[in-house]
C-alpha cells in the first residue's frame, strides 16, 4: 500500500439540482434532516415527520398529490417518493397521495408510489412499488422487486426473488426482533445526522 501513489480526490464538481421550491404548504418537522441536494418538488405539499432523514439526490415528488412521510424514515439517494399517476381512493381528494408510515427505509433507486406504506417497511435498492399499492406493517420489498399497481400486501410480507412472496414469521412472532430492527434504523439515522449536513432551510422558506 505504501508504494502506491494514492491521491485524494480533488477538484470534482457536483451540480446542485436547479428546481423550483414547492409552495409554502410544505410541513417539515424541525428535527427532520433533508440534505442540501435532495429534491422536493410539486405543488401538492410535502409533509415530513420527526427525525426523518432524506439523503442527497433523493426526490420527493408531490406533483400529482400530497406526500406524507412519517417519523424516523430514511430516503436514500436516487429514490423517488411520489405518484406519477392520479390514482387513489375513490378518485377524490386522495388522488395521487402517498403516505409513508413511521420508521420506513427507502433505499437507493427505489421508487414508491403507493397510497400507503405501513410502518417499519423496508423498500430495498431499485425496487418499484406501483401507484395505488398498499403495504402493511413490516413489509420488505427486496432489491429490484416490483409490487404491482393497486396491489395490497398484508403485514410482514416479504417480496423477494422474481416476485415471490412469503410472510416473515420471525418478525411476526417475536417482538424483540422487531424492536431490534427498529432500533437499528434509529441508530442509523442518529449516525447520519452527524455525517450529513442539514440543508432543509431552503425548503422551509427560511
Amino acid at each position: 500500500m505504501a508504494t502506491k501513489s494514492k491521491r485524494r480526490l480533488s477538484n470534482t464538481t457536483t451540480t446542485a439540482p436547479n428546481l423550483s421550491a414547492p409552495s409554502a404548504n410544505c410541513k417539515l418537522h424541525s428535527t427532520a434532516i433533508i440534505a442540501d441536494k435532495a429534491q422536493l418538488t410539486g405543488a401538492h405539499g410535502i409533509e415530513i415527520g420527526e427525525g426523518t432523514f432524506v439523503h442527497p439526490y433523493a426526490r420527493i415528488d408531490a406533483e400529482f398529490g400530497r406526500v406524507v412521510i412519517g417519523r424516523g424514515c430514511i430516503v436514500s439517494e436516487k429514490a423517488v417518493v411520489g405518484s406519477r399517476v392520479s390514482r387513489g381512493v375513490d378518485g377524490g381528494e386522495d388522488e395521487g397521495v402517498v403516505v409513508i408510515g413511521d420508521g420506513v427505509g427507502i433505499e437507493a433507486g427505489a421508487s414508491v408510489a403507493a397510497i400507503r406504506v405501513g410502518e417499519h417497511c423496508m423498500i430495498e435498492v431499485n425496487a418499484r412499488v406501483g401507484a395505488g399499492a398498499v403495504l402493511g406493517r413490516w413489509c420488505r420489498v427486496g432489491a429490484c422487486c416490483v409490487v404491482a399497481e393497486g396491489e395490497v400486501l398484508e403485514d410482514f410480507t416479504v417480496v423477494f426473488g422474481d416476485g415471490r412472496r412469503r410472510i416473515d414469521a420471525v418478525a411476526k412472532g417475536r417482538e424483540d426482533v422487531r424492536d431490534a430492527r427498529a432500533k437499528a434504523r434509529e441508530m442509523e439515522i442518529e449516525v447520519l445526522r452527524t455525517l450529513v449536513a442539514d440543508g432543509s432551510m431552503r425548503w422551509r422558506g427560511g
Binding site: R7, L9, T12, V125
Partner: protein
Amino acid sequence: MSRSAPASRRTAKTEYIETDTGNKISRRAHIEGKQNIMLGGKTVIMSGVHLRGDLCRKPEPAADGEKEKTSVTAISIGRSTIIATNSIIRPPNRLHKGQMTYIPMRIGDNVFIGPNCHISSASISNHVHVGANSVLSSLCIIKEGSKVLPGTVVPPNMTIPAGRRWWGG
C-alpha cells in the same frame, strides 16, 4: 463548480477532469465527501456516478496530546478501475461495538463496475467484473477475479469466492 466565462464553457471544458495520477473523473459525477475518497490512479469515474464518501467511520475523539485526525477513508479504489455511468458506491453500515458505524469499503485494481450498479460491499478484490444493473448489498465480499453477471442481486454479508461467475437474485 467554477463557473467561468459562459461563452467559452462549451469548448473549454471537457467532460473529464484528470488528476496528477491519471484518474479521470466526470464533471457530472455526484461526489460527496471527496476528502474521504482515495483513487489509486488511472481510475475512471463516469458521469452520474454517486460516490458517498461522506458516509465514513467517525474519527475517534483524540486522546490527550494527540493531534486529531481530520479525515478517514470511506471509499478506497485501486488502479485502473472503471466505474460506469449512474452507479452508486455507498459504504455499508453495521453495528460495531454497540454503535452504528459506516465501514470503509475497498475496491481493488482493474475492477470494472458496469452501469446502474449499486455497490455497498465491504470489499471487492482485484480484477473483478460487475455487470450492469447489479446490486451488491451491504457487507458482501467479492474475491479476486470473480465475475458478477448483469442484473445479479448479491445478498447482504455474502462472500463470492475467487474466480467464479455469479448470477441470479
